[in-house]
Symmetry: C2
């Protein structure tokens, strides 16, 4: 039997007899010839069917039946990609037993987002939908590969935890064999502890937030790309790592996923991340925005969505950059582990990365001395007790360190300008959605 | 300032002034000279201190203080690795404020396992403990890289799920904003659905089992290396992928993690995985074991631990292999999605991989037709309702497919012959342990 090839390889086999396997993407019966489009994991291939028996048999199949076809590759300038399969034999591997709820052969799936999510296992088969998750896969691979070359080590930390690290409001509670436990809101403290072990660590894994908000930006479970690095001078060393990782991710999407880029029509829109990413302090940002908007923003404690959007436009206009760092947020808006600005301790050695006007990454330098944690807990009226297992490590020489976290789904959503982060989430979890 | 180098690079810098950063691993004061051992993420370096002021200052530091030292590399055949740092200047980056609960500078940590786990963030700093998780990191990287070359795509599926896929007994229940939800016991059905999208997929992520058993083999949260592949003939195609992945993991550990291999003294003990892994059917295995033990095992429905151990020894003795496949388990012992053996439907197209006498991997071919799922649920008296969101995809041409899952912690435990899987788990979760 012929070795199976991918649809993407058909063009290299003109004159050969080949075997393809995949799904019956489309079947078009014309008066004297019919076209069978087979879809596999790499793309589409067209077969020309003239044999009446084959036409009759395939014509009775529902779309999406899993099939295998064998035939000869012939060049045909009129065919998609300039080649097609002639005189195919078709074997049905697994017959579809119902019509699809929507067509997969149109340029986009003609159904509203809730329908797509209800039928996600089917909608994801559409080449354009699938391409979104090719971008996710490439992004994860290059995130890791870039950090590997910088001497980082991958870790996997527990998602069932005994205490809530990011504050108690939006944490999921669990029955842990009779005791309460929580789902990890982030691997924050674990990755910090692991700086004491490997100095530079990363983790790709789920993070959970019991968000009661039903907005296009919030998910109750998301994939977090986490980094932590030790022996830094301050948060600026962390920003250098982040910029390098993001640049590598964009370059890899361009070079390793050209078909996904083409399907999503984002080639001309891939983000520009300059060698030196523009950075403004929180207070500079408020002054710039306030001046432009004719408002006094100097008493603001955080950036509003509209302010982030303004900064995105400003960075593009003034610096030709799709990303901009905002540094030095007020301590009051940042978690307890954030390192204060030594020169002005009501501000912090923190940063956000704004990607096309939306906050994509948060990061910064962290406290590294035990006494600073004790003070931070006291200042916030927090009970240090549940954290004692973590805090012990800070008695024993934790070096200055910092890190960041990128939300994978939000990254891809911004890459393709998706209005709702659910579009770039494989099986989203939200206020109303627990299945599929 | 000198560029910082890793301890592993000191040997390349004889005669140079270098800067190192890391932890005060040990300080030994002798009568006229003292030795400072610095540990970083790559290893150890020795500095010779003669300056009395430096000796006094370093002598007052607790071990594990984070330090930076600058000095000249000199060759000294008597020093570890043949080089040492002479006349170091020492800067304290973060002073340890308490003595360690155990010494990290001895060949192994002298403390029982519960103490190590209670103080995991500190115990993991020991080079030998740390080396275990270098093996984990290399294993994950090569698992992914091998599958990438075979055309697989990485996926991340939700860990909060609306229904329990592996049976309801050992599932964690969650308060999902007023509704019950569950923690994923495995990505089983999701990875199957994704075969319809990408044909070949893998996932590295947490899996959760509410195990009420306190044994050296059970964890309540573990890292699962999951694979699923479509368009297979039967389970044997899946076994080929598994053997290839495992061989690549062993080779990478040998070639990419020589220091971890040396510290753990496993070089001579790295597993032998032959090109063709020995395989016996479940019934052949029972016959072989029964004959040797002088028992009639022909009515057994599963392999006991002692039987798996026997098979491990048999595979090594008869085939020079540390791994052996057992195929064709009875349908009654396997989950509902297992594909029956077409020739004898009370048995299945399933396999376990026994690694040194312990089950490491389970896998097999899965049902791919909707009607077969309906029948399987009915035969087991299970309610298909909660699975309807999944089952829809099986109406629409799911090709023959199968896969497997490797438990990461168990893999490393068997590699180093650890008697308890908690030793190779970063922060284990069990009946009694939720922290750190």
């Amino acid at each position: 039997m012929e070795a199976r090839i991918w649809t993407s390889e058909v063009g290299d086999h003109v004159g050969d007899s080949v075997r393809l396997a995949g799904w019956l993407h489309r079947f078009r019966r014309l008066s004297n010839v019919s076209f069978l489009i087979l879809r596999d994991a790499r793309g589409l291939a067209q077969a020309v069917v003239e044999d009446e028996a084959v036409v009759e048999r395939v014509g009775r199949l529902h779309h999406e039946s899993a099939i295998q076809l064998t035939g000869t590759v012939v060049a045909n300038p009129a065919a998609p990609g300039g080649v097609e399969i002639s005189g195919p034999r078709v074997e049905v591997l697994s017959e579809a037993v119902a019509p699809m709820p929507f067509d997969l052969f149109r340029p986009t799936v003609q159904a509203p987002l809730p329908t797509l999510l209800d039928h996600a296992p089917l909608a994801l088969r559409h080449p354009r939908q699938r391409a979104l998750f090719t971008l996710s896969a490439v992004s994860m691979r290059v995130f890791r590969a870039t950090l590997d070359t910088l001497g980082f080590t991958e870790i996997q930390t527990p998602k069932i935890v005994g205490s809530a690290t990011e504050g108690g409001a939006n944490v999921f509670t669990l029955d842990y064999m009779g005791r309460p436990a929580y789902l990890s809101q982030s691997p924050q403290l674990y990755k910090q502890l692991m700086v004491g072990v490997f100095e530079r660590v990363y983790e790709v894994g789920p993070a959970f937030r019991a968000e009661p908000h039903d907005t296009p930006r919030h998910l109750n479970e998301f994939v977090s790309l986490d980094v932590e690095v030790g022996f830094i001078r301050d948060h600026r060393d962390v920003m250098v790592v982040l910029a390098r990782v993001l640049r590598a991710m964009v370059e890899a999407i361009r070079s390793e996923a050209p078909e996904a880029v083409r399907l999503l029509a984002i080639e001309a829109k891939l983000p520009r991340i300059p060698e030196v990413v523009p950075a403004v302090t929180f207070r500079e940002a408020l002054a710039l925005i306030g001046e432009d908007m004719g408002q006094d923003l100097s008493n603001e404690h955080d950036l509003a969505l509209v302010h982030e959007r303004w900064l995105g436009e400003w960075a593009l206009r003034e610096h030709g950059s799709d990303v901009v760092f905002v540094t030095g947020y007020p301590a009051a808006t940042k978690p307890f582990y954030t390192y204060p600005d030594p020169a002005e301790p009501t501000y912090t050695n923190s940063f956000d990365l704004i990607f096309r006007g939306v906050e994509l990454v948060s990061g910064g330098q962290r406290l590294h001395r035990h006494e600073d944690y004790v003070r931070a807990f006291a200042a916030r009226g927090m009970n240090a007790g549940p954290f004692e297992g973590f805090l012990e490590a800070f008695r024993h020489g934790m070096p200055p360190h910092g890190g960041f976290a990128i939300g994978l789904e939000r990254w891809v959503a911004q890459l393709v300008n998706a209005p709702n982060v659910r579009e770039t989430t494989l099986f989203p979890r939200d206020l109303n959605r627990l299945a599929p």
